[in-house]
């Protein structure tokens, strides 16, 4: 029989955090300054506009292949959206959007096992992680993105080793815009694949 333990109320989470930080400080580890610095970075530097600049560069740089850049395909075909494209799967066929049989594809990201940081709250919630891999179309619709049935949805599951970014399709009316202006229209949610631009 284990010894009965005194019932002790769990300390509030902020007190636990302070305790961890203070205990490390007491070990002679300079923690406070590093925490301040990384807090600043997480809020001011690791921001979605970094991704927006990458997207804008891919849109305007002719060196980036169309499939990777998510440009509107040149050939006619159907007018359905190729909303977003992710890198081709390892070893798989990744040609979408500019082949003879154009594939109407929408990419969406999830971190099924964990989380991203600093990601939007809903991305880290249990609901999104559990459901988007099983009923992606329903989840996207609930989030305001109603994709036509002919659009295939592919969910890219981030792992500890691999992170993805969706390269959204450039809106037609922005063709020819300067890179700075393009970068400003890119949203975090479009780079996750739950919204269009």
């Amino acid at each position: 029989m284990a010894q009965p333990q005194a019932i002790q109320r769990t300390a509030p989470v902020e007190r636990r955090l302070e305790a961890v930080q203070a205990a490390l400080e007491a070990q002679g580890l300079a923690v406070a300054q590093g925490v301040d610095e990384l807090s600043h970075k997480a809020q001011e530097e690791w921001v979605p506009r970094n991704g927006g600049r990458v997207v804008a560069k891919a849109w305007v740089d002719p060196g980036v292949p169309p499939a990777a850049a998510g440009r509107r395909p040149q050939r006619g075909g159907r007018a359905g959206p190729v909303d977003a494209q992710a890198p081709p799967p390892p070893g798989g066929a990744g040609e979408h959007g500019h082949g003879a049989e154009r594939h109407l594809l929408h990419a969406v990201l999830v971190h099924r096992l964990h989380h991203h940081r600093p990601a939007p709250d809903w991305y880290k919630d249990l609901e999104y992680r559990a459901r988007v891999v099983r009923e992606s179309r329903t989840v996207l619709r609930e989030m305001g993105l109603d994709l036509p049935p002919e659009v295939e949805i592919r969910v890219w599951d981030t792992t500890a080793d691999t992170r993805y970014m969706v390269l959204p399709q450039q809106p037609a009316h922005t063709i020819g815009w300067p890179e700075d202006k393009l970068a400003a229209i890119v949203t975090r949610d479009a780079m996750i694949g739950v919204a269009k631009l």
Binding site: L17, A42, E127, D189
Partner: protein, 121 residues
């Protein structure tokens, strides 16, 4: 281990609480918890794989009810105790209450009969 963290495809969850321009943090302590974890990795107290593993080892009920940054904090607290940097008692004294930690690392579940897993008497 097929832990509680492996949520993909689990059924019964409700709507995603989606808002436009959703924040990553809701309180200053969340920013600090996130930064503390990053800084601890930078100091070499533990690595990111250990950090993730400690979250995966959280007691399932605690995992499901803790928010994202409470899981972060629980992992950090667990690892610094396991590595002998601080004691759980010290953390609990400083916090003025219990500090729940993740369960110890253990091999995956087996299905051996009990007579093969208990030490011989």
């Amino acid at each position: 281990m097929d832990g509680i963290h492996d949520l993909g495809g689990k059924q019964g969850f409700g709507r995603v609480r989606y808002t436009l321009d959703a924040p990553a943090f809701h309180a200053p302590w969340e920013v600090r918890a996130n930064a503390l974890y990053g800084h601890a990795v930078r100091l070499g107290l533990f690595n990111m794989d250990e950090y993730r593993h400690a979250i995966e080892r959280m007691e399932p009920r605690h995992y499901l009810t803790a928010g994202y940054y409470e899981r972060t904090l629980t992992s950090v607290a667990t690892l610094i105790v396991e590595k002998g940097l601080v004691s759980r008692q010290e953390l609990e004294e400083r916090a003025g209450g219990a500090v729940p930690l993740a369960a110890p690392s253990a091999p995956g579940r087996g299905n051996l009969p009990q007579r093969e897993t208990l030490p011989a008497r």
